[in-house]
Amino acid sequence: MIPIRFPLPFALACALGLASPAAGQETTPELLAAARKEGKVVWYNSVDVKVAEGVAKAFRAAYPGIEVEVERSGSERVFQRINQEHQAGIRNADVVNSSDASHFLFWKQQKWLAPHVPPDVKRFPPASRDPEGYYATWRATLSVMGCNTRLVPAKDAPTGYRDLLDPKWKGKLVKSHPSYSGTSLTGTYALTRALGWGYLEALAKQDVQQLQSTTATPKSLATGERAVMVDGNEYNMFMEIDAGSPVRILYAREGTPLVASPTAIFADAPHPSAARVFQNFLYTVAVQQFLVDAGGLRSVHPDVKERPGRTPLSQIKILPDDPAGMLPHVAEIKQRYTAIFGH
């Protein structure tokens, strides 16, 4: 997909001076005062709950007087809740983060989002931000394979997805669910394009433990409940390694799905000013560096440094994500997957 940088309507709007929000997108004293008056921001997200609360804590310290409410669930569950609430006329969410980037295409089509470009985002690579300024990649991770080092010696570790079909892994695998997790959905789409649905059908015969979240599979692996993880967040694996759990990341030779998670502001956010202050805060170097250092995530911010000891993205074979290509197939992927693996 060739990124189109300035589609006509947006360029037109700029020329006519209609894109007024673009003018006041920095955290000015006026915006901050308005945000303080609103008193809080409600943030729906799908990042690991401890990472999310770490960000919220940093925000409270930086902007005393503005409370952050964190509502965390799987991306697909977050999407359901927002849509269900919208349908019932409930406006609760201000800022949303999801690992299923196609959600943002849908919400943008529905005209539910407000355009807002945080100062830092202007310097992001064009592929990581919406040309019309509705959303930008807040965090990225890989949907990796992994193994428990106590149960699987290094020499026996699988090197790719096809290895997992070996009978010796029967009953030893753990996997997340694309109906719950956006990372899992993005990864499933990439995997079915690389290996076909036949691969997943064969995998299902391996007696796979089916969990929901891609934050859950690394935790299951760490306890030794299963020996090999089919998919899970790379960032949770980094956090487990930091905590001393016996796990190792495996980058599959067929390639590893990349998952970019944008954030956006809702047009009818109940706390519009606080939402903008918060959104600006999310993309600052400090927060982005925190995501990398403490959260094990990848950042597209040009000033953020990778932590030493972690394999740089440039050395990993990546299966890129394609939200626009995935969007029309989302319901079908979930249905087909559930038919094969169950809930």
Binding site: V42, Y44, D48, V49, K50, E53, G54, A56, K57, E67, V68, E69, V70, E71, R72, S73, G74, R77, F79, Q80, R81, N83, Q84, E85, A88, G89, I90, N92, A93, L151, G171, K172, S179, Y180, Q209, Q210, L211, Q212, S213, T215, A216, K219, S220, A222, T223, G224, E225, R226, A227, A243, G244, S245, F341, G342, H343
Partner: protein
């Protein structure tokens, strides 16, 4: 009393008897609470998206294996829970009620503890205990026998239909046990003594005299367990779903995921309602025809069988069952709540980190606690007032249609929590009352769900008060309502207090209805825990579990203190 009667007499001339309007309001309120959700369930299940009549949803229910399989699973697992509860509770309740077993008081307290432990909480604990490879019990088992996980079969695998049956059994057992123990205590021992005097052996007496006498209670106990198991949501969602096993309640839940398939959800709910109603009817028939009253008055003191050398070995089943329902689960929750990384050994890992996170960082804790308490207090207070008024009106047969009142108040017993939630969702997401997304809709769910428990509690207390006292107040000129407030209520104070506490405890642990009705602003502790489960955040789950248990036990203790003081 004198002052009361005086004031009642004084107010005679100017007070209007509010009994009639009050009861009218009660009837209308009850009807709306109970009948509206059922009405919308029926309507929604019978019409398609264009609001035309259809039987399509029911047809799908009967032919689609995705619906037939969960139904069959629900039926056989519930039957298995019922059978295992009977098999365990029958001998154990006999031991407590009719023998000189040591430590009965402690055993009853422990049974009470497992009674108030929410089943989904037990399921959480059993994931940590009985996960096939990393579960604590299985780890001990592997270590003890020198086996290796994955190579040898685990001791227990809770992620299975049988795992679900086992955990459901653990937390349904106390219902059946209490039911049977009370029943056995009510059987006079004279008949058994007669049998013994006539030369029958202890076994023969038990088999030919005690067992037939206890039969109605046994059957009813089975039905209670079957019902309880059929309507649970938390345990199957936590233990059976990961194994790819669906039951009716989890199926309804998945139909509610966005975009919700309301017609199908309603059509799936109604059969569950019908089965429950049928079973309750069966239970009433069984109990009604062969009640203990037939046997004769309450005996002065049951004859206790001496166990002799079997006194201590007889404790074994208690150790086993209560160990599995209380000791091990509470232990593993404590272990999980007080370590930094629960996948590592205990040594050097002890920490208050999880508590710090839950109470200082996790932004849902405060909101969820607040919602849980607001809902618990509101449902308990409104529920107690409602059942007291309704109980009084219907038991004293004060108004036309008193029978309908009692029936309406106990009818929700037949409505499983998740079915009620579907009905409430259908009733209150349309004008005139748009309640979805507010605490009110969850409040209505709790109020409706707890009505039967409250009503039965209040009715039992009211039956114990002789109407003569009320008549005296009426002769002095007090209205019915005044009499209820000034005379009757103080006399049944303990019963009313108990009602309040029962509804409160029932409300703060509610999951199966809340799971369909909550939104981000209206989360409770139970659904917050359910959310955390999907990302395997066991540390925070353990902390919230222990918090919920602490609140529950504090409430039980408070009730004890409040009612004890009155008695002395």
């Amino acid at each position: 009393m004198e002052a009361t009667l005086e004031s009642a007499a004084r107010s005679r001339s100017r007070s209007f008897d509010w009994t009639a309007p009050f009861s009218l309001v009660a009837v209308l309120l009850l009807s709306a609470l109970v009948l509206l959700p059922v009405f919308w369930l029926a309507v929604t299940s019978l019409r398609d998206d264009a609001h035309r009549f259809t039987l399509g949803y029911y047809r799908q229910l009967l032919v689609d294996p995705d619906f037939v399989r969960p139904l069959l699973t629900t039926l056989w697992t519930s039957a298995a829970v019922g059978a295992s509860c009977l098999a365990a509770a029958a001998p154990m309740s006999w031991l407590v009620a009719r023998t000189d077993l040591p430590g009965k008081r402690l055993l009853r307290i422990l049974v009470l503890a497992s009674f108030v432990t929410p089943p989904f909480l037990g399921a959480f604990a059993w994931v940590l205990l009985g996960g096939p490879n990393a579960g604590l019990l299985n780890q001990w088992y592997y270590a003890l026998l020198g086996l290796k996980p994955f190579e040898a079969a685990p001791l227990v695998n809770v992620f299975s239909a049988w795992g679900m049956v086992f955990v459901t059994f653990l937390y349904t057992f106390p219902y059946v046990f209490t039911f049977l123990a009370n029943g056995l205590e009510a059987i006079p021992s004279e008949l058994e003594e007669a049998s013994a005097i006539l030369g029958a052996s202890a076994w023969y007496t038990a088999l030919r005299v005690s067992l037939p006498l206890a039969m109605p209670a046994l059957l009813a106990g089975f039905l209670v367990a079957f019902l309880q198991s059929m309507t649970l949501f938390g345990v199957p969602a936590i233990l059976a779903l990961p194994a790819g096993v669906d039951v009716m309640t989890t199926k309804i839940w998945s139909l509610f995921q966005f975009p919700p398939q309301l017609g199908l959800a309603a059509a799936t709910s109604l059969p569950l309602l019908a089965v429950t109603a049928l079973l309750l009817r069966a239970q009433a028939l069984v109990m009604g025809r062969r009640g203990y009253a037939v046997v004769g008055g309450r005996s002065t003191g049951a004859r206790l069988t001496r166990l002799g050398p079997w006194r201590i070995p007889a404790l074994a089943p208690f150790v086993l069952v209560l160990g599995c329902s209380i000791v091990l689960p509470y232990g593993v929750l404590l272990r999980t709540a007080f370590v930094k990384n629960w996948s590592r050994p205990l040594a050097g890992n002890l920490s208050l980190e999880q508590w710090r996170f839950v109470f200082l960082e996790f932004s849902q804790t405060r909101l969820a606690l607040q919602n849980t308490f607001v809902l618990g207090i509101a449902a308990a207070t409104a529920g107690t007032v409602l059942v007291t008024v309704v109980g009084y009106l219907s038991l004293r047969r004060l108004v036309w249609g008193h029978r309908a009142l009692g029936l309406l108040a106990t009818a929700p017993v037949a409505i499983p929590g998740i079915v009620l939630a579907v009905g409430l969702f259908l009733s209150y997401t349309r004008p005139p009352l748009l309640l979805y997304g507010t605490l009110s809709i969850i409040f209505l769910a709790y109020l409706t769900k707890e009505l039967p428990v409250g009503y039965q509690q209040v009715a039992a207390s009211l039956k114990a008060v002789h109407p003569e006292l009320e008549d005296a107040s009426r002769i002095f000129g007090a209205t019915r309502l005044r009499t209820l407030v000034d005379v009757t209520a103080p006399l049944v104070r303990n019963g009313i207090l108990a009602t309040w506490f029962f509804i409160f405890i029932g409300s703060i642990r509610e999951l199966s209805a809340t799971i369909l009705l909550f939104t981000a602003r209206t989360k409770t502790i139970s659904v917050t825990m359910f959310d955390l489960r999907e990302s395997n955040d066991w540390g925070p789950i353990a902390v919230l579990s222990l918090t919920m248990l602490a609140i529950t036990f504090a409430m039980v203790a408070a009730l004890h203190l409040l009612t004890d003081r009155r008695a002395t």
